[in-house]
């Protein structure tokens, strides 16, 4: 780089200072918005009174973020000072961050800012309307000491395992069926995908209706078993707390008492929601598999069939290995989604019967809004972070396991 003239050097210094100030001010404003104070609509009525609130409870938080803001500001100032003398690079730098500004602002306010707030709140007792009080790990201890919480984890783990497995297998099967040469491919693809387009609220409502004691599901079993002369006793599907393992035990004359809920397996109500969830999500993942199948080189299959491999062998030895990256993606996305199930529970079962459809996100919702007792934002936040840790753990493990499996190919 040429030696810059003194005038451009001083303008570079000026720009560096300006960018430092800009970044510190913006970050501190965002931090201020998300400072742990009491919430509610009145708290920001005047700037002065809000600042007083922040001073009361949010100073440690603001201090930490202040240090972060200064560090980021220094980095930015250094970069600006380096890029400034070159007009081309200066213009690119300004343009780039101007283009990124909407994204960065929204993300820092509504993602980064609120997560830091939630992290702080998770260690406090907080009901929105009064100041947060620091309680240390009390919220986490409360959550881990509560049967409902463990049962909600137990439920979503069953849900994640069964739904993710089933929807992945069904999605692959549907994609393979659709990938065969045929007429009306577009038509069938559209029809198959239709359940994934509609909102979960709509599908859940329709399924609740079909699961009624007088609904179509009971009618189906009635007619189907009637063909073999077996009498079908109508089930109240979404109200039935009997667990899968419990039913098997009962078939052999045993039973599992309710204080050993963790041995009962997923309840009938819970499995009904599983079926519904598989029904709506399998087609979404089918599309991903279909796109991946179309990328597979057809000569591989031709070579295999010349070597005498039959359809199943071709599927096992060519299709599945080549689909591995997408399978990983689908399993990870499926696990993240199923561990956070909410809509279906909210609408269909409200966590019942006997907490067998209770889920962590449903608990978070209820505790945070005080639907079943006082508002406990801090407690809800601590559950959210435990859940996030579990989700990260599963994502990490799945990635490791499936990637290791890929190495042999």
């Amino acid at each position: 780089m040429q030696v810059p003239k003194t005038s451009s050097r001083s303008s570079a210094n000026l720009a560096a200072v300006a960018s430092f100030v800009l970044i510190v001010v913006v970050i501190m404003l965002i931090a201020l918005m998300n400072a742990p104070t009491k919430g509610g609509s009145g708290v920001m009525a005047s700037f002065g009174s809000y600042l007083a609130e922040v001073r009361k409870t949010g100073m440690p938080y603001m201090l930490v973020l202040g240090l972060f803001a200064i560090a980021l500001g220094v980095v930015a100032a250094t970069v600006v000072r380096r890029e400034w003398p070159n007009p081309q690079r200066r213009r690119t730098l300004i343009a780039a961050y101007a283009f990124l500004a909407p994204y960065l602002l929204v993300t820092f306010i509504f993602t980064v800012g609120v997560i830091l707030f939630a992290l702080y709140i998770a260690f406090t007792k907080y009901d929105i309307f009064t100041e947060p009080q620091w309680v240390g790990f009390q919220n986490f201890a409360n959550a881990l000491g509560k049967k409902t919480f463990w049962q909600s984890l137990y439920n979503v783990l069953w849900f994640a395992v069964i739904v993710t497995t089933a929807q992945t297998i069904i999605a692959i099967a549907l994609a393979v069926i659709l990938n065969a040469p045929m007429r009306f491919k577009q038509f069938f693809r559209t029809i198959f995908y239709a359940p994934s387009v509609t909102s979960s609220v709509v599908i859940t409502l329709i399924f609740i209706w079909m699961y009624l004691k007088t609904g179509y599901i009971n009618l189906f079993f009635d007619k189907a078993l009637g063909l073999f002369g077996v009498h079908w006793k109508a089930i109240d599907w979404l109200g039935d707390p009997r667990g899968l393992i419990q039913i098997i035990a009962q078939a052999f004359g045993g039973n599992i008492p309710s204080d050993q809920w963790y041995l009962r397996g997923p309840s009938i109500a819970w499995m009904c929601l599983m079926v519904q969830n598989i029904f709506t999500t399998a087609p979404t993942f089918m599309i991903m598999f279909l796109a991946a199948l179309q990328d597979i080189n057809p000569t591989l299959y031709e070579a295999a069939s010349i070597d005498g491999a039959n359809g199943w062998q071709q599927f096992r030895k060519i299709t599945l290995p080549l689909l591995r990256p997408i399978i990983l993606l689908v399993i990870v996305l499926g696990t993240i989604g199923t561990l956070q199930i909410f809509d279906q529970v909210y609408l269909a079962t409200a966590g019942g019967p006997l907490d067998t459809t209770q889920t962590p996100v449903y608990m978070i919702y209820n505790e945070a809004l005080g639907k079943q007792g006082p508002i406990q934002m801090g407690y809800a936040s601590s559950i959210a972070f435990i859940l996030a840790a579990i989700i990260f753990f599963f994502t990490f493990v799945q990635r490791r396991v499936i990637e290791r499996g890929t190495e042999q190919y």
Binding site: T37, Y103, T107, A118, I128, L178, M182, F192, L329, L347
Partner: protein
Amino acid sequence: MTAAAPTATRSALARAEAKPARYYVGLILRYALLIGIGIVLLMPFILAFAGSFKTDSEIIAYPPKFFPAQWLTENWVKVWNTSLGEGATFPRWLFNTAFLSVGVAVLEMIGCSMAAYAFSRLQFPGRDLVFNFMLGTMMIPGAVTLIPAYVLMTKLQLVNTYWALLLPGMVSAGAIFMLTQFFKTVPKDLEEAADIDGASKFQIYKDVILPLARPALLTVFILQFQGMWNSFMAPLLYLDSPRMWVLNVALSVFRQQYQANWSLTLVGAVFNAVPVMLLFFLFSKYYIEGVSYTGVKG
């Protein structure tokens, strides 16, 4: 079914000549399977549609009949005329839903294409850092941000305003990622010509990149429109006064308050499903491209 043979691939034809009988049996079985699966997947919608014309007693009678004894349009009229007072009417909920869906989709097309342009076309310090940061935010479960975002909304007095959903909805990491990948496939020649002509970066973005990216932008629009139209938890939290409800929230409230009223619930459900279904049938090509594009990123 035999009409399907001419379009089958050459290898399939070769097999057809070798073993005609087995081939046609396979063909018929395959289409039977396809039609069977199609019927199963559409069945809930067909049943709900037929059910929305039944009377209240008919709808929960056992055994249920497939078609209503009489096709009653009263349910539909009744749902359309629903009113809870103070402007909380069914048309208003429909408007809220449509306005928010279009609003979020349009804002997202703008916000995300700007970010994607910077990521894909500009060489600037910190690019990889910001991009990786963005990919990292995609990993954050929604359950973590929902509650604190609600507190922020109460502070900023945005609860029960459209902004509560429009502002956070302005950008999404997934859409930026998709557009970035798409922009990278657009040839650079035009831009370089524009650059030599002295066009600013913004002019290049507006006049060169955006027109070329129309299919990708349409995909973003459709996916975000559908995402907002179908979203439930965020509007449930942020828009809780009856006037501001979206269809999903209104449906859930009615479901909880009038448990037995299934015919009206089904009308609402069908009403809610039809617009996205239509959009999907019209633009299924873009739609499926978009889903597979966001998916096949490895």
